[in-house]
Amino acid sequence: MTTESDHTPLTTDLIALDGAPTEKEPCIEFLLDLAVDAGRVTDREQALEDLLQREKDATTGVGMGIGIPHAKSAGVASPTIAFTRIDDGIDFDAMDDKPATLIFMLLVPEEGGEEHLSMLSSLSRSLMHEENRDALHEAESPERVEEIILEAIDA
């Protein structure tokens, strides 16, 4: 990867349009592995522990078919978003009991301050709009997904 992409939270290698496991924890590991393979994670075990601890505090299955597992972690090298979608949906312990079909992972380094929370709220606001959720479902390439998500968190 180039140094330039270190400044972008999301690159196409962090997007898997299919192939994710259909259970919550394996799906979280799958997304984390995208980040590991992209060179964004220095300590996989630590990052996974922080992600799962957050799920234990309260599920990140926020309803409307969205899961946003996230963590600020000493095991993370740079702010990172990983994405996958699961057309049939998976149980993400959402309060509205709806299966999650769009899963976003947000990771920031320990010294990342409140950055992950502002990414989280921008992304959530964007996903409130049905047309944005539909666009992600319909996207045919990682490039298109990248465009939609970067636009969403920039808003």
Binding site: R54, D57, A58, T59, G61, V62, G63, M64, I66, I68, A94, M95, D96, E114, L117, S118, L120, S121, S122, S124, R125, L127, M128
Partner: protein, 89 residues
């Protein structure tokens, strides 16, 4: 309809466990409950996605409304979540 403005006490803000408890409380009542940031539009307090989208932090003021048959109890319940320190809840 009743309205109340509260300052968020839990250290996590309207995020993680406090957010989850807040949304759960909002879902327990028949009344429609909304929450709005100081300078923004109200959102449905029963939607975790909407509440997460607020990005409300500890110390922020939010405006609550409750409208329905059990609005008094509903308001009391959601306001209590936002004004109780995490360690005491």
């Amino acid at each position: 309809m009743i309205e109340r403005t509260v300052t968020i006490v839990p250290e996590d803000g309207l995020h993680a466990r406090p957010a989850s408890k807040f949304v759960e409380a909002a879902n327990e009542y028949d009344s429609e409950i909304t929450v709005a940031p100081a300078d923004g539009d109200p959102v449905n307090a029963a939607s975790m996605l909407a509440v997460t989208g607020l990005g409300a932090k500890s110390g922020d003021d939010v405006a609550l409304t409750a409208d329905g048959p059990d609005e008094e109890e509903a308001m009391e319940a959601v306001a209590t979540v936002l004004t109780t320190p995490e360690s005491e809840s």
